[in-house]
């Protein structure tokens, strides 16, 4: 309750609680963008230090703490990637997906060699381009469906249905091959 306010009041236990609750989310967002486990860890630290030092930077009236943390993590990660002048990520042409799930990247390496991972990867690659583009924007870049609609120049209803259909196909790939 009033987690942000507890941070204002210097409540260390609330900070620890916040960290345990959202660490995986923040890390995941940062790792999606940077594809670098160590960089994602650094960003995770930075994000939590930011809200501890400046709890008023988050305004509960304007959205969820979860959404804010992932937005900040995303922004930091993008800054980092741009700073390092890696050409892998371009907001208007998100092609990161192919890299992020591929073998050999530091994050994916940790678990990727499983049957499920392979099926998932194939399913993502098999998605028709409009579906994959929409999912990539929402999943990798933390966009809302309204932002997805604007970015793709389609009606909001279309963005919603592409996200739903894209995920449905992944679900089928996960469970539909008789190996689950």
């Amino acid at each position: 309750m009033r987690l942000r306010d507890r941070l204002v009041f210097g409540d260390e236990a609330a900070f620890v609680d916040l960290y345990h609750r959202y660490r995986a989310l923040v890390y995941t967002v940062a790792a999606r963008v940077t594809r670098d486990g160590r960089a994602a860890e650094d960003i995770t630290q930075e994000v939590f230090l930011t809200i501890w030092q400046q709890p008023f930077a988050f305004d509960p009236a304007r959205g969820s703490l979860r959404g804010w943390l992932s937005m900040i993590a995303h922004r930091r990660a993008v800054d980092l990637v741009r700073r390092e002048e890696t050409q892998r990520r371009h907001a208007s042409h998100p092609r990161l997906w192919d890299d992020a799930v591929s073998r050999g990247d530091p994050v994916g390496d940790q678990v990727s060699d499983t049957d499920t991972a392979r099926r998932l990867e194939q399913a993502v690659r098999a998605l028709p381009e409009p579906l994959r583009h929409a999912i990539t924007l929402a999943y990798l870049h933390g966009r809302t469906y309204r932002e997805v609609a604007v970015e793709l120049g389609v009606p909001e209803g279309t963005a919603k249905s592409r996200l739903r259909e894209g995920l449905r196909r992944l679900t089928v790939a996960l469970h539909g091959s008789g190996q689950t």
Binding site: V8, G10, Y19, L49, W52, V111, T116, Y139, Y145, L167
Partner: protein, 348 residues
């Protein structure tokens, strides 16, 4: 919207919802709908599972401990000082004020923040002076030493003369160090809680710490208004203690203002988080006892219903009794008397 329309709207949102790509409002609409719709709930589970599978396959967070982060956090901003439960509201306000002060620009410190003349710097000196009365009573060394008969006003005056010319950073450091030392001392010596401190009125140490939390918060709001900074109201469990202290002290100030027949009572309903109901005698116990002819009423003569944070601001002298949004029942004269007396609890 009919049930079918609502169902359609939510069903279309499920993909976006599973990807956390909805607005917070839509998120809660979907969640509410899922409770009653088995079909949507099943689809939502499956879609969420796909997103979680993506997370698992791509991005498992490494196992780490919070220890290094805790150390780094502490170096950037000190947490509230550890304190016994009755001093937790004070420790919390100290941390909140320190946070606010850390973000002030040099010219913010000169802004007039209270009573038409005190700057932000002056207010912090004033808080340091009054906190010093407690620190001194606990046996801590304070500078300058507390003189016999010192009260918040006299000590503030003495310290303003000395400290106004020092740097704001010095004032902030000594205020915070003293606050931390008070909390630390109380934590080490539980028996101190029952001791007495004179802050204008004699109070138990326990009550005095609640009073300090109260005043620190009121001045945080003063500084926030003067320097256009955000602030938050006390936590429900903290504002409850502040209101409770005010309700217990109210009979003294009601009696000071007017002659009310002994034995009359006002029921005070404070609404909102941390709220509660108090029965406030219209005269302090000693007076009521002397006038033993009139038995204490079982039914209060008046009721005052008001939001708890607004009530505390009234007590803190930051609201007008005539203009506060209160609902009065029963004897209107007595009810208004309680509201009119409330600001009398606050000194400078």
């Amino acid at each position: 919207m009919t049930g079918t329309d609502a169902h359609q709207a939510v069903a279309q949102l499920l993909g976006a919802w599973a990807l956390q790509a909805c607005s917070p409002l839509e998120d809660s609409v979907v969640r509410a709908h899922l409770h009653g719709c088995a079909a949507c709930a099943a689809e939502a589970r499956a879609l969420r599972a796909a997103v979680e599978a993506l997370d698992r396959e791509c991005l498992p967070p490494p196992a780490t401990t919070i220890a290094p982060l805790g150390v780094a956090a502490n170096a950037l901003r000190r947490p509230a000082p550890p304190a016994p439960p009755y001093a937790a509201p004070y420790a919390a306000q100290v941390a909140a004020l320190d946070l606010m002060l850390s973000g002030l620009a040099a010219d913010d410190w000169d802004r007039v923040a209270a009573y038409g003349e005190w700057s932000v710097h002056d207010l912090l000196i004033h808080l340091t002076a009054t906190d010093g009365l407690i620190a001194s009573a606990l046996g801590l060394t304070v500078e300058p030493p507390v003189e016999p008969g010192d009260d918040p006003v006299s000590r503030t005056r003495a310290m303003l003369d000395v400290l106004r010319n020092r740097s704001t950073e010095d004032t902030r450091r000594s205020w915070r160090a003293q606050a931390d030392a008070v909390c630390r001392t109380l934590l080490r010596h539980p028996s101190l809680a029952a001791g007495t401190v004179v802050l204008g009125l004699p109070l138990t140490v326990r009550d005095a710490l609640v009073a300090r939390a109260f005043e620190t918060w009121i001045h945080i709001e003063d500084i926030a208004a003067a320097a256009a900074r955000p602030s938050v109201t006390p936590l429900p469990e903290h504002v409850h203690l502040m209101a409770d202290l005010a309700a217990r002290m109210l009979p003294h100030v009601i009696a000071r203002r007017a002659v009310t027949p002994a034995g009359r009572q006002v029921r005070l309903h404070l609404t909102g988080p941390g709220g509660g109901t108090w029965t406030v005698p219209a005269a302090p116990p000693a007076t009521a006892l002397r006038a033993s002819t009139g038995p204490v009423e079982l039914v209060p003569s008046a009721e005052v219903i008001v939001e708890i944070v607004e009530f505390c601001r009234l007590v803190g002298g930051r609201r007008e009794p005539e203009r506060i949004g209160a609902e009065l029942r029963g004897d209107p004269v007595l009810a208004r008397e309680l509201l009119a007396a409330a600001p009398g609890l606050s000194g400078p």
